[in-house]
Amino acid sequence: MMDYIWAFLVGGSICLIAQILMDKTNLTPARILVYFVTAGVILGAIGVYEPLVKLGKAGATVPLPGFGYSLAKGAIREVEKYGLIGAFTGGVKATSAGIAAAIFFGYIMALLFNPKTKN
């Protein structure tokens, strides 16, 4: 049960920060997402995001900064293992499931469904 409470609080807070940025600065959602992924990479690299993942679990990994965190963590892990080439293989490997699923399911759903007319 504690899992769910912490996931809710951590995940909710990350979204809250994004919402405040959107309201206060008129940044478009696309820009927010780019900033958040990049922030996740940087925070992941310097070890700041790790405690959030320990605490919030899915609350920290499901939001986009978690995607950045996985990218950074993967790159570092593979550099440890394989040297410099790991910088290129690690990030995409760690996030491969999300990226591949997004491309595959995204394509399938776009074929199956049509946009709903906005009213």
Binding site: F8, L16, A45, G59, A101, Y107, F113, K116
Partner: protein, 154 residues
């Protein structure tokens, strides 16, 4: 004289804009974003616990959660449900990985009539593309820096 009139018109215009722009209150937006974002993460937590109970290792469970959440985001976008949530949730539905899936399906559906290669295939990445470009590139830089630091520390 001309200048004065212009300023007056500008003033009136500004007042009209103020009236017309929906007054989204920061507090309300923030609460919705927090609650919806939190709930989406709880759905992720549910699947994480579920897959862990199936005996999937802690290292691999992220792959499963990401795949399921992306599927849900894409499917609900196709059904038109996700965008309805998004009207209220704002960042709460944009920032989770389901929002990443949403950002792929929405333009892909929208541009279907431009064909399957340059419509669906390329418009999928209108928003997801920049995310991948900046995310992956910065992770490569992180890897290179880590490598250099490790070399120097030796």
């Amino acid at each position: 004289m001309e200048k004065r009139k212009e300023n007056e018109i500008k003033n009136i215009y500004q007042q009209l804009v103020q009236k017309k722009v929906p007054q989204s209150s920061l507090i309300k937006d923030a609460i919705f974003a927090f609650v919806v974002g939190g709930l989406i993460c709880d759905v992720g937590q549910f699947f994480m616990n579920l897959f862990l109970s199936f005996g999937i290792s802690k290292d691999d469970v992220g792959y499963y959660v990401a795949t399921v959440m992306v599927f849900l985001g894409a499917f609900l976008t196709g059904l038109g449900v996700y965008d309805n949530i998004g009207k209220y949730a704002g960042a709460g539905s944009i920032v989770p990985i389901t929002g990443f899936a949403n950002s792929i399906v929405s333009p892909a559906m929208e541009y279907k009539r431009e064909g399957y290669i340059f419509g669906v295939g390329s418009k999928m990445f209108v928003i997801a593309g920049p995310i991948l470009v900046y995310g992956i590139s910065s992770s490569i830089i992180v890897g290179i820096i880590y490598y250099l630091v490790k070399m120097l520390a030796r």
